[in-house]
Symmetry: C2
């Protein structure tokens, strides 16, 4: 299901931003989080509404704290 809520879009941008900062490919992040690569793509496009436990798995694979994925990049850079 494609939700594309603003919350999911912002979350996806955060995941992509931290992934690229670490120089990881979607495949590498998927493997580190034990998630299918297409799911990572859906997350980054804001099409997925991940659960709390999924947020923790992604954060762990990115070596960051889970709350960091929910902070607003627009506000931080403004």
């Amino acid at each position: 299901m494609v939700t594309k809520s603003q919350e999911c879009v912002n979350f996806g941008k955060s995941v992509r931003g931290y992934r690229e900062k670490r120089g990881m490919s979607q495949e590498e992040l998927a493997a580190a989080a034990s998630i299918h690569r297409t799911y990572i793509g859906g997350i980054e496009r804001g099409e997925r509404n991940p659960t709390l436990r999924m947020i923790y798995r992604l954060a762990k694979a990115l070596h960051i704290e889970p709350f960091m994925l929910l902070s607003k990049p627009d506000r931080q850079s403004a």
Copy 2:
């Protein structure tokens, strides 16, 4: 389904803590977030694995930023 993962238990404690800090009952929080009261109970007991959008709804109803529900209360108070 009762998951009771540590992530969900910590999240539930955060929700309960912020709800009590605002002097809200579970019924009041449920109404403010347009969620059934029994769902709030399940969240606070750590039995639910909420989605990102649900985390945002709860945070809005509690008048806090979503990332605040994912910070670790144990670490903050230690």
